[in-house]
């Protein structure tokens, strides 16, 4: 630890208290959503609102999961996110490796362009993509949605992987090359195994970009490929303000990734901070 750490007991007590208050406030919205999802419909809309359910019920969950299209939307969300993650990695890993290892002028132009593309609003790309996928015969398919979502994650994956490849010492590869390993072989057998933590980080972020996407799903799916975020949003227009069912579906959709976040905390923090701190 560096010199910023406080050493006086009194100061530390104040810091703990402040932080505890902030964290409780920060955690409250989700905890409230969790409690709401277990309330009865009457209690959900009660005035004044309650925090803890007076009677706990899983009625909302049963309702949400028996709604037409909801189970299928989970299947769609998972398969779209998995496809998008794989496409993103397969494209980003070789590209990032080429940029960091060979440092050509073209590579520098490429990585800067990728960064610029990261800034394009989804609505700008999404609207013309409707026509592109229609012409390819891919309208309303998970594959088309996965391709569209990869436009969000690919630039990020390239930047993340480039940072991780940067950290691999050149000597390792040189000795592999001296031993007769081909260029592609040294990427596959030497570099990727060393940076598998980095590949995991890029995978998590690509998965999240797809899992949490709304606008591409809104533009590019209609029936067959609809994902859960669209179903969650539908609860408000279709059935008025059905907060109970909506919150239970939102909980079901969020809990897997929150658990993932806690389990893979170290990787996620590494991914979030690596580019920024090193850049």
């Amino acid at each position: 630890m560096n010199g910023l750490e406080s050493r006086r007991g009194g100061t530390r007590a104040i810091l703990w208290t402040t932080l505890t208050v902030l964290v409780v406030l920060y955690a409250f919205p989700f905890v409230y959503m969790l409690f709401t999802s277990f309330k009865t419909p009457i209690e959900t809309n009660a005035i004044p609102p309650t925090i803890l359910p007076s009677t706990w019920t899983i009625q909302n969950y049963v309702m949400a999961l028996s709604t037409q299209g909801v189970p299928q939307s989970f299947v769609n969300s998972i398969q779209t996110a998995v496809m998008s993650t794989l496409i993103s990695l397969v494209l980003a890993v070789p590209a990032a490796y080429a940029v960091t290892r060979y440092r050509t002028r073209l590579g520098r132009v490429f990585i800067l362009l990728a960064l610029v593309m990261r800034m394009v609003p989804a609505i700008v790309v999404g609207a013309p993509l409707i026509a592109v996928f229609h012409n390819l015969g891919l309208s309303d398919t998970s594959f088309a949605l996965a391709l569209a979502q990869t436009t969000i994650s690919l630039p990020l994956s390239i930047w993340l992987m480039a940072s991780f490849f940067e950290a691999v010492p050149d000597e390792l590869e040189e000795s592999a090359r001296v031993d007769g390993c081909s260029r592609l072989g040294s990427l596959w057998r030497i570099v990727i195994p060393i940076t598998r933590g980095g590949v995991a980080v890029a995978a998590i972020f690509a998965f999240l970009a797809s899992w949490n996407d709304f606008i591409f799903a809104l533009l590019l799916t209609s029936v067959r490929a609809v994902t859960t975020p669209l179903q969650i949003a539908n609860f408000q227009s279709q059935f008025g303000l059905d907060w109970g069912t909506m919150t239970s579906l939102a909980v079901l959709y969020s809990v897997p990734v929150i658990v993932l976040a806690i389990v893979l905390q170290r990787h996620i923090v590494a991914g979030l901070t690596l580019g920024a701190v090193k850049g």
Binding site: L19, F30, V277
Partner: protein
């Protein structure tokens, strides 16, 4: 280009790999390192060309035509007519101002909150680990879920936020603040879920930056009798400048493109008070069925975003430069 890697900087210690390749690889075809690198970049470059650059080009081309996709009919070339209409349209100007205001609200509040939390984490050292884990969780939540959740928290009459403020005697009736239906404050209210979702990002990035501040510098300043505010504003913040720049650019670009969070909370209302550019472009394109005008608006929006972002990146961040 047939020479071996003329581009390679001389300082790069990887000089060995520019030796002639092993005979096995060279017998069949002459694949220089340069060509090999290009070949590896090609799939990703093609993907970005087909699914980003091409739609982008289509979008810009559409901005010079007038047509109606619902009613059908011909595509009429109208030159800069759509741009003139966009720039003279009061709605477009207002949306642009709202987008800037929204971005400013989000980035300022996230920075102040994020820095506070990062300094708290640093002050507590490794013991803050558990809190850092908890702080991570909103980053995983879909913006659409966050938007709906906050709409529920802030809803008139039965929102828990007003109820808690009322019970804390901060407001005189649980109905006093009309978070999402008062046009004067709605733009601020719709920003809350965005702030809630990504303050963690700023905190964690700044915390990582703070870990890299050399302890000796802070020790030396302390010995010289510097108080905490002096330490913060004269030493820590200037040292963190590149990290702060990256965090603010990333968040600024994202906030300027915000769509999900706003569309599910207010859909642009009340009285258009939250109708930012992303919503305006979307509604002009899809609901009003005027892709020509939407494309002109979107092109101006995109261009402004790019110019601001590229200037920010090139002047403050300088990616790829060695420190």
């Amino acid at each position: 280009m047939t020479a071996m890697t003329p581009e390679r900087p001389a300082t790069r210690p990887a000089a060995h790999s520019s030796r002639p390749s092993p005979p096995r690889a060279r017998k069949r075809f002459r694949l220089t390192d340069n060509r090999f690198a290009t070949l590896l970049m090609l799939p990703a470059a093609l993907f970005l060309a087909v699914f980003v650059a091409w739609p982008l080009l289509q979008f810009v081309i559409n901005s010079f035509y007038r047509y109606n996709p619902i009613a059908g009919g011909p595509h009429t070339f109208v030159g800069f007519d759509n741009y003139v209409r966009a720039l003279t349209d009061a709605g477009f100007g207002n949306s642009a101002v709202r987008t800037i205001a929204y971005t400013a609200i989000v980035v300022t509040l996230e920075f102040v909150l994020g820095l506070t939390v990062a300094l708290l984490f640093s002050g507590l050292g490794n013991r803050s680990r558990f809190f850092r884990t908890i702080f991570l969780y909103p980053l995983m939540i879909a913006p659409i879920v966050a938007g709906l959740l906050w709409r529920f928290l802030l809803i008139d009459n039965s929102g828990i936020v007003n109820q808690l403020l009322y019970e804390a005697h901060l407001i005189s009736s649980p109905n006093q603040i009309q978070w999402l239906s008062d046009p004067n404050i709605a733009l601020f209210s719709v920003a809350l879920p965005d702030i809630w979702l990504t303050t963690s990002f700023i905190s964690l990035v700044l915390f990582a930056g703070l870990q890299n501040v050399p302890g000796e510098i802070i020790e030396a300043a302390r010995i010289d009798g510097a108080h905490y505010p002096t330490l913060l504003f004269r030493i820590i913040l200037p040292l963190l400048r590149p990290v702060i720049a990256v965090a603010l650019i990333v968040r600024g670009v994202d906030a300027a493109r915000a769509f999900d969070v706003i569309v599910v909370q207010t859909n642009g209302g009340p009285q258009n008070s939250t109708n930012v550019l992303s919503l305006l472009v979307y509604n002009t394109q899809i609901a009003n069925g005027n892709p020509g005008l939407a494309s002109a608006m979107g092109t101006i929006y995109l261009f402004a975003l790019m110019v601001v972002a590229v200037i920010a990146v090139l002047t403050i961040w300088r990616p790829g430069s060695d420190q």
